[in-house]
Amino acid sequence: MKHTKIDKARLKAAIEAIKGREGPDGPQLRLAQQARIAQFRRKLGKELRPLFAGARFDVGALDKALGRHQVELREALKKDTAKIGKAFAKAARDRERGMANTARAWRHIETKPLLTTLIPLTTPYLIYATPLGMLQDSHIEPWNNFAKFAYTNDQDTGFGAVVKFFFAWQNPSDYLAVINCETNLLINGIIEATAEQGWLASCSAFVELTAELTVYVGSLPPSTTRGPSFSGWPRSTPKAALHCSAVRATWNRKTSSGPIISRAATFPWKAINWSSSKSPAALMGGLTAAPLSWPSTPTSRAAGWPCILRLTGPCSGRHSP
């Protein structure tokens, strides 16, 4: 089998293109909607508070205020629905293209004896984080690539931050290939959310972490799988009278599933030149001197090739087959 040399300039251009891509926006849309609803509730609380000050209740005014609140909320949700529908339509188109990719892959390998070759990519080409400045330390070493980062925000907003490890592989032949890929992301850290007291309506702070693997296949649609999602949700419920305070924590666990095509990848690069005898993974890594090797023998899935990577605990050491 031929071995390939990845054109680093082209890989760099590809990663730059990926960086600028917009995500599926699912969590952000949901969070933005929650924030908007909370804003309406707070507005309602501010509107209602003076009504209680004189210990006289104007039921009519309360009803009017509540009615205005519901109208504003419905209008806002209607706008959100249109926005979500647009985002979902794009996701559906991308998913269709990805499913077509998967179908072609299955047709290529169907009814043939399954022979697998494992190719470990042990060093990323790049560790990247945004917002810039969030990344405090990073390290690239075969089987031990890590990033350290911290982030705080107290602005009333809903945005995201992300830390990425970019790996790459190039089909070393002129022929079509079918691949599976897998990785582990080991997570050790603390998330914290603080919500101020609210009057009648709650203040809120929500933070959610999601591990995600996205595979960008040249100009073809990519596949995405999402891993466990970790979330904390402090928000208010009545504690005394109309003041609010309580904490609710939720853990959302999503198991990895089959390929879900989330977005189309159209990179500004097409042809790749390569002519090296070195391992593609080593050339891809480029950042360390440690050579990578292909499996010494071809192996079948039934034969149970030893797992290249199966780390389940805190990862500080190296892999030892």
């Binding site: 590809a14 990926i18 995500g23 929650q34 707070r42 990719n101 998967t102 072609r104 290529h108 190719i119 470990p120 330390d137 690539n145 890590f146 990033a147 350290k148 911290a150 705080t152 107290d154 602005q155 907003t157 995201g160 830390v163 490890f165 970019f166 790996f167 592989w169 032949s173 022929y175 079509l176 290939a177 691949i179 599976n180 890929c181 990785t183 582990n184 992301l185 997570i187 850290g189 998330i191 914290e192 959310a193 603080t194 919500a195 101020e196 959610e208 693997l213 595979v215 296949v217 040249g218 073809l220 995405t224 970790f230 904390g232 305070s245 390929p259 391992s279 090797s293 499996p295 290249i308």
Partner: protein
């Protein structure tokens, strides 16, 4: 870790130590085609009069991605696998 807040603010802090196993299966790759694997930890947040903090930097905290394993399901047609050539 998080920004300043009032004494009466409600705070929730959650320590996370876990491993996310991620995979994508049955991907068609054309000859010579370059693939980029984007392994990410995404942080989504929403704040309405509060703050959020994320600490994956102190002490032994952080995120680790040991690598990506590509499983080639079949040798590309018309080629023979010669592991000795791989160095």
């Amino acid at each position: 870790m998080a920004a300043a807040s009032s004494d009466s603010a409600t705070v929730l802090s959650t320590a996370i130590s876990d491993t996310a196993h991620l995979s994508c299966n049955s991907i068609e790759v054309q000859g010579d085609q370059l693939i980029v694997f984007d392994v990410a930890l995404s942080v989504d947040y929403s704040i309405d009069d509060g703050n959020v903090g994320i600490d994956f930097a102190s002490g032994s905290q952080g995120i680790v991605c040991p690598g990506v394993t590509v499983e080639l399901l079949s040798p590309p047609a018309g080629t023979a696998f010669t592991p000795d050539a791989a160095t």
